[in-house]
């Protein structure tokens, strides 16, 4: 405890000393970059020791949520202090307060981009890609020949830089959202296929033998035993795909797009040096991604309540 408090005090003092010694020159000098690095390290130490103290003083059930939250608050606070202390130009790094202000004032634009990118491209593409991957996995499971042919190819494709297909898809499906949705489908298909196939072979031999001795046919075994056993793998793929889907849709917008969409907004605002708008889009993307992830994690908990990682 004393050690944590000592580290915290020392880190705060060092961070303030660093913050006061910025030259404020524009453009920033080499010395300023060295100071920036020192500030990042000291303020990270402060945020960490602060959450350490919280960890030691708070009861277990509270600290689980509060410790990471306090750490995050510390990071944002340090970011704000850094921007003010170092006089870093807004075109390099806007302060969190500026980003929040931009977010509030540009809500209609952000909303339009959200509809174009998330609702029209990401969600339909994610549903189609995951659905197609899942169905293909079921077909592969039924016909072993197909499985032995497709699985090595699927593993290979999963390691390839698939985002590179974006220019081809934009050429085929046009500039509007269909090409972005197609991109999402291509990106999400193979992870779903591989994970579902791995999941379908996860059920134990004992359980399979039991169903075999009941003379259960393929659909029954699938529904009662193997699909439930595959659920942790399927949810893993759904989570991976939720991030991949956002990436696919936004990257595809770099290759041609109507004048709305998150990827379009980011690339044009960077050109106009409107970094606060770029960061507002990034914040929206991060919030949407975390929201998706959270929903999936909740659903997973409901569906796979039997899994060891959720048992108490």
């Amino acid at each position: 405890m004393t050690r944590a408090i000592a580290i915290f005090m020392a880190a705060i003092v060092c961070a303030s000393l660093v913050a006061l010694s910025f030259s404020g020159a524009n453009p920033p000098t080499g010395q300023d970059w060295a100071l920036s690095l020192a500030f990042v390290i000291t303020s990270w130490m402060a945020a960490w020791s602060f959450s350490w103290i919280a960890d030691l003083t708070l009861p277990e059930n509270l600290s689980q949520f509060l410790v990471p939250a306090l750490f995050g608050v510390g990071v944002v606070a340090a970011w704000q202090v850094y921007v003010h202390a170092s006089h870093i130009p807004v075109v390099l790094l806007p302060a969190p307060s500026q980003i929040a202000a931009k977010f509030a004032s540009a809500l209609p634009t952000l909303g339009a981009d959200f509809v174009q990118t998330i609702l029209r491209a990401v969600i339909p593409g994610w549903l189609m890609g995951c659905g197609a991957g899942f169905l293909t996995a079921l077909v592969c499971d039924k016909y072993d020949f197909l499985k032995r042919g497709l699985l090595p190819l699927g593993n290979l494709v999963a390691a390839l830089p698939i985002v590179g297909v974006a220019p081809i898809l934009v050429m085929w499906f046009g500039f509007d959202w269909p090409s972005k949705a197609a991109m999402v489908v291509v990106m999400t298909f193979f992870p779903m296929l591989i994970n579902t196939l791995a999941g379908l072979s996860a059920a134990g031999n004992m359980e399979r033998d039991l169903l075999n001795s009941y003379a259960a046919n393929w659909p029954t075994t699938l529904l009662k035993l193997r699909l439930p056993a595959a659920m942790p793998f399927i949810f893993n793929a759904l989570k991976i795909n939720s991030t991949l889907a956002m990436i696919g849709a936004i990257v595809a917008e770099f290759f041609g797009t109507p004048i709305v969409g998150m990827g379009f907004r980011m690339s044009t605002e960077v050109g106009r040096q409107g970094l606060d708008m770029v960061w507002a889009e990034i914040a929206m993307a991060a919030m949407t991604g975390s929201f998706f992830y959270g929903c999936l994690a909740l659903l997973e908990r409901k569906v796979t309540f039997w899994h060891p990682s959720y048992r108490r």
Binding site: A4, P28, W33, A47, W48, S51, W52, D55, S63, Q64, V67, P68, L70, F71, G72, V91, L92, L93, F145, L146, R148, G149, P152, L153, L156, A158, A159, L160, P161, I162, V163, G164, V165, A166, P167, I168, V170, M171, W172, T243, M246, I247, A249, I250, V251, F254, F255, M262, M266, S267, V270, L275, V278, I282, A285, A286, G289, S290, F292, Y293
Partner: protein, 287 residues
């Protein structure tokens, strides 16, 4: 490779290639219909025109192979026209980023395993860092980092490193914790220090996990480097080839770049797989 493994794989690959050739006919119909009619029609003319367009909507496999041959072997490797030159530009930043990200991931994992409060405060943020579609904002970060005056290769490598560290951290935390209680107790009875336990027990035990993570990492590092080249009208690299190809409708150029990138990714993963097999063998693993 055994026949019962090779046969299905070959069949599926062959089916894909045949489907690709067949798909060329309807896909390129927009460009070829008039030419086929003037040439007198017939299936032979249909195939001949559909498979040999100069700027096809869907190039046929042999066109892609020829384009790769022309840009890899038929030109000097250091000229701007050579795909090898562009591949090297992308690979160099991939590898720098891979090493940076891998080291960061291992260090974070060692910290997380040894300091309890670090796990609680850091681990949720390591996971949250991956819900940001970093690949999608990579081009912006490149522009911003470019203004700080750092060398180009370093800014691209930063993106690769950011993508790389996550699988390594997750895998290494699991791996460093994989020695069971008996083994840890043994180290305790020897009165081993934390660093001795780390070097003699935890790190060797984590190697299988490390290699599994590294194989994932190197693939996304390459993807990251390619996407990082997309903005700023990059002059060299696989990403620049893709962007140029899409601007000027050079479909063949896009496909050739894609296949070379895919080949590079597969080679990197395969090399790591070889390293994994030989090092695990030396440690006495049974394969």
């Amino acid at each position: 490779m055994k026949i019962e493994r090779a046969l299905p794989l070959l069949t599926v690959t062959l089916a894909i290639i045949i489907a690709w050739y067949l798909a060329c006919v309807p896909m390129n119909a927009v460009l070829t219909t008039n030419k086929i009619v003037t040439a007198g029609g017939g299936w032979w003319n249909t195939l001949a025109f559909s498979w040999n367009e100069i700027r096809p909507v869907l190039p046929s496999p042999h066109q892609v192979v020829r384009e790769i041959w022309n840009t890899v072997f038929a030109v000097e490797p250091w000229s701007n026209k050579s795909l090898l030159f562009h591949l090297w530009v992308t690979l160099s930043s991939t590898l720098v980023g891979f090493v940076m990200g891998g080291l960061l991931g291992i260090l974070l994992a060692i910290g997380i395993v040894h300091v309890g409060s670090l796990e609680k405060s850091l681990m949720p943020w390591v996971i949250a860092s991956q819900t940001i579609p970093i690949l999608a904002i990579a081009p912006m970060l490149i522009v911003v980092l470019g203004k700080t005056g750092l060398p180009d290769i370093f800014t691209k490598a930063t993106i690769s490193a950011y993508l790389c560290f996550f699988p390594v951290t997750i895998g290494m935390v699991k791996g460093l914790r994989s020695p069971d209680v008996m083994q840890q107790d043994l180290m305790r009875t020897y009165n081993a220090s934390a660093s001795q336990t780390l070097w003699k027990l935890r790190l060797p035990a984590s190697l299988p996990f490390l290699f599994a993570s590294l194989k994932v990492s190197v693939a996304i590092a390459l993807t990251g480097a390619i996407v990082a080249e997309l903005p700023t009208g990059a002059v060299a690299g696989i990403g620049a080839r893709l962007l140029n190809g899409s601007y000027y409708g050079q479909t063949l150029q896009i496909w050739a770049a894609l296949f070379v990138a895919a080949f590079a990714a597969a080679t990197l993963v395969w090399l790591l797989g070889g390293l994994e097999r030989s090092s695990l063998k030396r440690m006495g693993a049974h394969s």
